[in-house]
Symmetry: C2
Subunit: 245 residues, 2 copies
DNA sequence: AAGTCGCCTTGACGCAAATCAATTTGGGAG
DNA sequence: CTCCCAAATTGATTTGCGTCAAGGCGACTT
């Protein structure tokens, strides 16, 4: 029997899911057919508002979504960047704790929450896999905390570029090649929200890294990295652990 | 049969565990007797070094431990504060990603990792409960990210005090009384590492909050809060969600 | 072609927090 | 009690990043 929960290719899903997939011929999962559905969102659209009732969980199929938190006076901090295969939602909690916004056009594969929860309760592997993913996210969040709390603006930018490069590489299963290049999926403002900076500082530091030859730009969204080790050094990373999220 | 995994009082544990407990008369858990043990650590002692092989998981029984990350040049960021009942370790990963240090004297209740992992694989409830705890921690980490990225020094201090007050209240199951007071379990330097500040700034902001009547100090580790709402306002918290960690 | 709009860059200036540098406090040992 | 020393406070100064402001660069529309 086919492994039915981890990295499964669904019939009509463009990517291999890390989450539960309904297309597998397992009895207990068959009924999921009825509780699985797709939703599309346009760039800029809000997928979930913080505080909203959430009756589904799901994973990103394509596009990029972001988790953000906003203070009353408008200060905003991104607290999660959701790439394809990332999981959204919380079994066991009924309201969303953060805003989820589509950064690019997004397709999500959703499962109604209640049946998903019973599935978790009955299928140890699913809960286990979900636990593993959540622990990975927690590790990533903690790396991110070091970035926010202690790194300089320049280090933050270098870190962000290497994080995106690393995740993109992981997604396409290719190892770091000689001269790798990355498309930044975020505006300067979104990068600023990610890094706890202002957009002006982001722009300045990117210019500085360009001037110093750490990166080169084609357009203002595409970055080439001539020397990845140089970039990592600028990022102040000792841990080169290729963590997801 | 007694509920055997969540909030159980162990025979010889001083507190009610949120994690798995070996003292319950359940067949599948009986063997855990042999794989559960206690370890004590003195204040300041390192429990686990980042990168070390970790062959156990466990939960804090008494005392306070902290999870920290350090850059080569010595900049340090706390990324987790472990109070009694908090879980340490990662089923599914063999090396520790962060330093764990005993902030006060600490007693930990440990389980050898391998048998614990098989337990998780075989007992859905355990994985489920662990997932729930990890998701709570992730939510807390994300609140923390907002703090690190966007709050001012004064807001950070006010947030820290209210977080500690909230957690202490949760631990003792008492609701916020009129004039609540908190023992800060951290030195100024540890607070600074928690908040992404320097110890001087921490000291200055505590003095400022005292001068403005938001808090009063008895000694320099004990804080009284005359008006909790005032403090929360200073903290810039809209979400008053009583999250753990 | 000209106009508009979103996004980005660059400059000038100010301020919050870091850094550097003394003291002061207070708890524990003798 | 007095000494000692880590922890905390407070002051003076510097600086990195935020803020405010002006202008540039494509990509669309008309």
């Amino acid at each position: 029997m086919q492994d039915h929960f981890v990295h499964v290719q669904c019939g009509d899903c463009p990517i291999r899911h890390r989450a539960v997939c309904a297309r597998c011929d397992t009895d207990e999962l068959a009924e999921l057919e009825q509780i699985k559905y797709y939703r599309s969102f346009q760039a800029g659209q809000t997928i979930i508002w913080s505080g909203d009732r959430m009756d589904f969980v799901g994973s990103v199929v394509s596009g990029i979504a972001s988790l953000t938190q906003t203070m009353e006076d408008g200060r905003r901090q991104m607290v999660g960047l959701l790439l394809p295969s990332d999981f959204v939602g919380r079994p066991g909690r009924s309201t969303a704790a953060f805003d989820v916004t589509a950064t690019t056009d997004v397709v999500m594969c959703c499962f109604r929450k209640k049946p998903f929860e019973t599935l978790i309760a009955e299928t140890p592997h699913v809960a286990q896999r979900l636990l593993e993913m959540t622990l990975d996210e927690l590790d990533a969040a903690r790396e991110w905390m070091l970035l926010l709390g202690r790194k300089t603006a320049r280090e933050k930018i270098a870190s962000l570029i290497s994080i995106i490069a690393r995740r993109e590489a992981a997604l396409h299963k290719k190892k770091a090649s000689g001269n790798l290049s990355v498309d930044l999926p975020l505006t300067r403002e979104e990068m600023a929200d990610y890094l706890g900076l202002t957009l002006e500082t982001v722009s300045r530091q990117i210019s500085a890294l360009k001037k110093d030859g750490v990166i080169t730009l084609e357009g203002n969204r595409h970055v080439s990295i001539p020397d990845i080790d140089r970039l990592l050094e600028e990022a102040g990373d000792d841990t080169d652990g290729g963590l997801p999220v």
